[in-house]
């Protein structure tokens, strides 16, 4: 990033993904969002004396799918560790997580390398009663254990991100990938997708890593971008004023945009990791691996790549379609009807159609994939002009039906290069001698009123290019 400061940010992301399993990571309690507090609890997820964890097989399955989608290496034998610390949202006094042998390691998504992805359990939810809304200064704090024990995959990237905008864009790709895997709701506002960022800066051209800070609590894509931007700016300002960046954990307040320290390196926990003696290692079998592979859909990055290389779509079009699976599916259904001009079809779907139906699934709209394919074919064959086709699409969105039938019923067919159009052009030139003079003088901008006249006369059914050709022909230009 060359912003003139002479510094380049180095950013790594840590993403927590709540898995959409039926039950919690280590017990049979149902997963829920928004239910009354503490109804989805049992001796295991409340950390009652004597209770023991049992690994959720579905969570392993989902973690394998995530690992495959991110191109990770899958550990034949991974183990769970205990991460020990005291907090009221952690009923056992330790979180069961993975440490030195995570289930997935290495990998890449887009332009960012993946360091690892591991399984762990979510903490419960603390609610602080009182003005501050935070534990410090609260009148009382209460705990809702419904969320406690929800399966999480924590994905850690390598420090490959170089700007706040790239962080946001990459997280969008990750979210789409996870959404299409069907393993999570990936909703940042509800907390099923959470992102922390490790941020440092270094002089442009240096390959040494600077002291990093960990930025937490960015619960939307916008806040992620703003928070990282603010932190980069803070670090650059610090270094430029001769101070040093201190390793610490920071809290980003999206409302004020301010960054405050949660704890310094000296206050960092010693988590006393050790292998969880209540669980046995997760040993992968061929059946588990094949089972996960069988459920892998084509993922956004791969689909976009296919659209570019096999169909010749532009990178932007390919991404627009591939990152919304329903749009991609619709595009491919239309392509099966008419595969002649994929880029034009892509433009009509991601441009005109989306402009009319918004986030709605096009398959649920009144416009069938066959209809939009026909419409594109009509435009290509010059049977309908661009302008008239947009009118046809309005009708299709409103009432459905066949494009050709709408064209016929409403008289929207293009007027070709025959006598009819020649006649209209002739009349247009006769009606505006001043413009004709200018045109003859070489000022082609004067063609505007002439074309406008023709379009009015033909109700937009004339092809602009053809009109221009006839004007030149008739004026001998």
């Amino acid at each position: 990033m060359s912003d003139g400061s002479g510094y380049e940010p180095v950013i790594g992301l840590e993403i927590h993904v709540q898995l959409k399993t039926n039950t919690k990571m280590f017990c049979g309690c149902e997963l829920s969002f928004g239910d009354p507090p503490n109804v989805h609890t049992c001796p295991v997820c409340l950390g009652l004396p004597g209770a023991l964890p049992v690994v959720n097989a579905r969570a392993i399955h989902y973690a394998l799918m995530v690992g495959m989608a991110l191109g990770c290496e899958l550990a034949p034998r991974s183990i769970f560790h205990r991460k020990n610390y005291f907090y009221p949202d952690l009923p056992k006094g330790y979180q069961i997580s993975q440490y030195d042998i995570p289930i997935c390691s290495g990998g890449r998504l887009g332009d960012v390398r993946i360091h690892r992805a591991h399984l762990e359990e979510d903490a419960a939810k603390l609610v602080h009663v009182g003005a501050s809304g935070r534990i410090h200064g609260a009148d009382a704090s209460v705990v809702d254990y419904n969320r406690g024990g929800t399966p999480l995959v924590e994905i850690v990237t390598e420090p490959d991100v170089r700007s706040a905008a790239q962080a946001r864009e990459w997280l969008t790709l990750l979210r789409e990938t996870l959404r299409q895997l069907g393993v999570s709701d990936v909703n940042m506002e509800e907390g099923s997708l959470r992102c922390d960022a490790n941020v440092s800066i270094r002089p442009v051209g240096s390959d040494v890593l600077g002291t990093k800070t960990e930025l937490k609590n960015m619960n939307s894509f916008r806040y992620l971008e703003r928070g990282v931007e603010a932190e980069i700016a803070r670090q650059i300002a610090l270094v430029q004023s001769g101070e040093e960046v201190v390793q610490e954990t920071l809290h980003y307040d999206p409302v004020s945009g301010s960054i405050s320290s949660l704890r310094s390196k000296e206050e960092a926990h010693d988590y006393r990791y050790f292998p969880e003696p209540d669980l046995v290692p997760v040993v992968l079998t061929e059946t588990m691996i094949e089972g996960a592979r069988a459920e892998l859909p084509e993922l956004p990055a791969a689909r976009a790549e296919r659209y570019e290389s096999a169909l010749g779509l532009s990178a932007d079009s390919a991404r627009l379609l591939a990152f919304r699976p329903e749009l991609g599916a619709y595009f491919e259904a239309a392509l099966a009807v008419d595969g002649e001009s994929p880029q034009v079809l892509a433009n009509w779907i991601s441009g005109e159609l989306v402009a009319r139906i918004g986030d709605e699934d096009p398959a649920a709209s009144k416009v069938t994939p066959a209809a939009i394919a026909q419409l594109v074919a009509l435009v290509r064959g010059r049977a309908v002009t661009q302008g008239a086709a947009k009118t046809v699409l309005d009708r299709l969105v409103a009432d459905g039906g066949e494009p050709q039938a709408i064209v016929d019923a409403e008289g929207l067919g293009a007027i070709g290069g025959g006598d009819e159009l020649t006649e209209v052009v002739k009349r247009a030139l006769e009606s505006d001698p001043a413009a004709v003079e200018k045109l003859k003088g070489g000022n082609m901008k004067a063609i505007g009123p002439i074309v406008g006249f023709v379009m009015r006369e033909t109700k937009g059914r004339a092809d602009g290019g053809e009109v221009t050709r006839l004007v030149r022909e008739q004026l001998g230009l």
């Binding site: 004396p49 209770a51 009221p88 209540d278």
Partner: protein
């Protein structure tokens, strides 16, 4: 009549109930009366129980599915029993009544046993004398001025004194075998994983194992038969490959006994050594061969154990934080609430081990302590495996001494830890070991330990039974 009922073995009592010769209610009443009478004396009695049932629980009718119907059972405090105090000997859990039963408690209830009471124990099973209980020390029925051993001291004392026909205990480094030895009864520490740990308030997860106490080997086998089984709630539990049989051995012909030199050294007092040697001679008369062998890493077992067990305990006991259950100290902020609750709730031995374990796991020390201890553990397991290539069983004294005086070792934790010198290696190896009484020294019981390969319980019980018959140890006088 009541004395006759108490004199019955558990299997005979079950049999007589099934045939209608005695009633489950009168048997329960006989035991409850004795247990409650002792409990009423508090620390002037044996103090074996922390809770005694006040009504007779309903038992299923005797059947093939419930062959133990109507036989009372004493259960170590640390097993969760629904609605019944389960305090693990700790003030931090004083009055705590869990909402669920431990798997093994459920299994035994299905087999027909009735919950007679919860037995006293060292706090969180940390101790070898039962002097670390928040509910007072337990006394040895053979001599009330002496300890019953620990940590399952209440269960051992209750069975020895005829306050229960049999009992559940747990063994982490010797907590069944050593009190069984000191109280003159039989105690089995089964193969790790053969009995579910679900619902056992944990001390050290990779070592804790539930096991039976009984007056003789046959009752021990019978109780164990109804405890085993893979449990979907305990990932470390395993299906026992054998159905547990009642012992039937008649001699020890062809049985090779190995005596590990490392475990019968200076620490073993002379009376215990004498009884041990006499039992070896008896085993030879019964057809066994006896040879000295080696477990080269066994001398390091105690050190490894006192890193691994406290490390796991430091984490297992983190949940006692005052937030959800048990004691909560008043405080103005979270950190003070934590520290005061734990300062008031835990006793000194528990605090000592939490500190030891926290230190052993801390960043920068892990490899040198916990990591190294795990390597020693592996070596010890290998020592046993290679010993079992040449021997059917490894035999040692169960404890290096007979029951000692209350207060005698409390000032010196290391002296106390040596009580488990002969039992800890088997715990680290996860293998089964049984303690049977093999005589008296100065009028106090001595225990003989037999250890076998993983899942060899049937053979182990057979061998123990043969020796038991030949030894003819009589513990009935303390049940009078």
């Amino acid at each position: 009549m009541s004395a006759d009922l108490i004199a019955l073995s558990a299997r005979d009592a079950a049999e007589q109930i099934r045939h209608g010769r005695i009633s489950a209610d009168e048997l329960f009443a006989a035991y409850r009366e004795r247990a409650a009478a002792d409990a009423a004396k508090g620390e002037d009695g044996l103090n074996a129980y922390t809770w005694v049932a006040d009504v007779t629980p309903s038992a299923p009718a005797a059947s093939d599915a419930a062959p133990l119907a109507g036989v009372p059972l004493a259960v170590k405090d640390l097993f969760c029993t629904e609605g019944v105090p389960s305090q693990s000997g700790s003030k931090i859990l004083a009055g705590y009544r869990p909402p669920y039963n431990a798997t093994v408690v459920d299994k035994l209830a299905s087999a027909g046993t009735t919950l007679l009471g919860k037995t006293n124990q060292d706090e969180f099973a940390m101790g070898s004398s039962n002097e670390n209980s928040a509910f007072g020390a337990v006394r040895n029925p053979w001599d009330a001025s002496r300890v019953p051993g620990g940590s399952s001291g209440g269960s051992a004392a209750a069975v020895a004194a005829g306050l229960a026909p049999w009992a559940l205990g747990t063994d982490t480094g010797g907590s069944i075998r050593q009190p069984a030895a000191l109280c003159g009864i039989v105690g089995l520490k089964p193969t790790y994983g053969s009995v579910s740990r679900y619902g056992m308030i944990a001390f050290a997860s990779s070592l804790d194992q539930a096991g039976p106490f009984a007056r003789d080997v046959t009752d021990t086998a019978l109780l164990y038969r109804h405890m085993v089984g893979r449990d979907g709630r305990d990932s470390t539990s395993l299906q026992h490959p054998d159905e547990i049989a009642l012992p039937k051995g008649v001699d020890l012909k062809g049985i090779r006994l190995g005596v590990p030199e490392e475990l019968i050294g200076e620490g073993v007092e002379s009376g215990v050594r004498e009884a041990f040697n006499q039992t070896l001679a008896l085993a030879e008369q019964l057809g066994a061969t006896v040879e000295t062998t080696h477990l080269p890493h066994a001398p390091h077992a105690l050190s490894a154990y006192y890193l691994i067990a406290p490390a796991e305990a430091s984490s297992n006991l983190a949940r006692f934080d005052g937030v959800r259950y048990g004691l909560r100290a008043d405080a103005d902020d979270l950190l003070s609430m934590y520290t005061r609750t734990r300062a008031e709730g835990f006793g000194p031995e528990v605090k000592r081990r939490i500190m030891l374990g926290t230190y052993a796991l801390s960043s920068g020390y892990y490899d040198a302590y916990y990591g190294r201890a795990q390597k020693v553990r592996t070596k010890i397991a290998e020592d046993f495996r290679s010993a079992f290539d040449s021997f059917d069983f490894i035999v040692t004294p169960s404890a290096p001494t007979v029951a000692f005086k209350l207060g005698e070792k409390t000032a010196d934790p290391l002296e106390m830890y040596l009580q488990d010198f002969c039992t800890i290696p088997m715990s680290l190896a996860g293998i089964p070991a049984i303690s049977i009484p093999n005589g008296l020294s100065d009028g106090l019981p001595v225990g003989f330990q037999i250890a076998g390969p993983a899942f060899s319980e049937n053979r182990l019980l057979d061998a123990a039974y043969v020796l038991e018959q030949a030894l003819g140890f009589d513990g009935s006088k303390v049940r009078a």
